[in-house]
Symmetry: C2
Subunit: 326 residues, 2 copies
């Protein structure tokens, strides 16, 4: 059954893609079998991250960028990661509505994902969906996310090229937030560049990119700074050009291989960890053990630290001998 | 050694508090022993969360609120969680500088924490520091954090009373982000209430609070909406009054007990989660196994899903019999 879905995805069924992603989001075990089958068919897609604060116009920019990419004949998968309410689980609807025009293009696949739950699951879910799109044959995968918070930094770490969207006039506090995210940008986009203050922002960013010793020390690539007015479709070709130049740099310098090695390492760790925790949690909750421990802790008969050690010591046994000898 | 620190913390040594928090941040194993000793002395502090977007004036508000609380003789611990760069680990300095005047009061303990690392570690670190302050004898613990991202939602979930700080004129995109955070606020603070648009924002929030069926269905408490001009020390008593009324509601309705039960459950799970990750990562990295697996995956000789299953099957053994019979 799960294997059938993998086959159908490789044969181009969008319905099977949707089903698999739902399984991944629900942590349905059937997803694993399917992902195993798909894995050998991954590694071809190029991954672009688009990040920036709310109101920066990321959705419109993504929309126009995708149209430009489509004109060159490439197929595209889009993952829109939305911050959501911990209560409603709802996502902000604006993005979906605006992007829905692209839905009519069969070579573009769009998936919105609500940030849900607990404990950094979003980065794992996003990297799984990237692999699904990759196996599904999409040449380019775009991840659009809000650029604040550790979760988002983890998500954007999946991308080969990260674009940070800034706009003039969003106030000092907001721009200073960006200080934390500046270092992860390969391409800066000054969007809404027809607004007052755009030239100044462009100058500031350019200055920082060229002066910032942190950015310099980290890498040979000097981030490019582009200007767009996404709503009027201006500057989009320049942005696409900048992304392609960064890609060329990564490929020619060998950094793409290095980047993907690190990513595979992190993803593998993350998968092992998530699966271990899922199993432990399931057992603790279904057996009523967790409730009993919590009652003991609340009664001050135990403390959570010793509970943690007891469970980890009793349940996890790391083999002394390594079977692996590759 | 670690036990000595616990004793010194209980006897009131700020130096030992600083040492322990550093251990916690570094995931130094000595922290656990210490936390075990402190745990029986926790559960007395009341925890206030202050959240809102950058530029909302949270730091100034916290500063003035703490002064008001101190006038009534209560002792205070402050945890300032700053978004930071994944590369530099640096925090935004403004907050620390502004709050430093409070540093002269020996009954106020301030700790800035940079959001670092991987996999939701901040919420765990923050809840540990809350416990340290609690055992250290602080009556009130204030957590100040930026109100966006899943990480921050997790952090603010630690608080008994959550205050969401809004300001007039921060633009639509930013206010709409708040949609996700609106539901977690027990008290709304319209700060910079002398600015144009403050009355309208107050009316909007009040309307939403009273109309929002989600908020209504979730709980009996109707969030209070207060106005402040923190920089001029206006409205602070009203805010403190609102917080105390929420506390009274929680205590009288039994919701505080319920809230803390859920929190203990989540914290225990989170501790297990973090410890599992630490052990797995340590073993896989130090043995060179991870590198070997990654090479096999990159060569497409294996896939990460089967690697995950192999490790989980070999390492995890959940006892069939439950020893626990409380």
């Amino acid at each position: 059954m799960a294997t059938d879905h993998a086959k159908q995805i490789l044969e181009g069924s969008p319905r099977s893609v949707a089903r698999l992603i739902t399984w991944l989001e629900d942590e349905d075990r059937r997803a694993y079998k399917c992902m195993e089958k798909l894995y050998p068919h991954t590694g071809k897609a190029y991954i672009i991250g688009i990040t920036g604060s709310p109101g920066a116009g990321k959705s419109t920019l993504t929309d126009k960028l995708v149209r430009a990419i489509r004109k060159q004949g490439h197929t595209v998968g889009i993952i829109a990661v939305d911050p959501s309410s911990p209560f409603t689980g709802g996502a902000i609807l604006g993005d979906r509505v605006r992007m829905s025009e692209l839905n009519e293009d069969p070579e573009v696949y769009i998936r919105s994902m609500a940030t849900r739950g607990f404990l950094g699951g979003m980065a794992k879910a996003t990297s799984d969906v990237v692999k699904v799109f990759d196996a599904f044959g999409k040449d380019i995968v775009i991840i659009e996310t809000v650029g604040v918070g550790q979760d988002e930094v983890d998500i954007i770490g999946i991308a080969d090229t990260t674009c940070l969207v800034l706009v003039p006039g969003l106030g000092d506090g907001i721009q200073s937030m960006k200080a934390g995210v500046m270092e992860i940008a390969d391409v800066f986009v000054i969007n809404k560049a027809d607004r007052p203050g755009a030239d100044q922002l462009w100058a500031e960013v350019t200055y920082r990119v060229e002066q910032d010793t942190h950015i310099k020390q980290q890498r040979d690539w000097t981030p490019m700074v582009t200007k767009t007015v996404a709503v009027d479709d201006e500057g989009i070709d320049g942005l696409w050009e900048a992304i392609q130049r960064h890609r060329q740099y990564l490929e020619e310098s060998g950094k793409l291989t290095e980047k993907r090695r690190i990513r595979t390492s992190q993803e593998t760790l993350r998968m092992i960890h998530n699966e271990l925790f899922r199993l432990v949690r399931e057992q603790l909750e279904s057996s009523g053990q967790l409730d009993r421990y919590v009652q003991q802790i609340l009664d001050h008969r135990r403390d959570p630290y010793s509970v943690m050690r007891e469970i980890v010591n009793n349940w996890l046994s790391i083999p002394k001998e390594q079977k692996e000898a590759s």
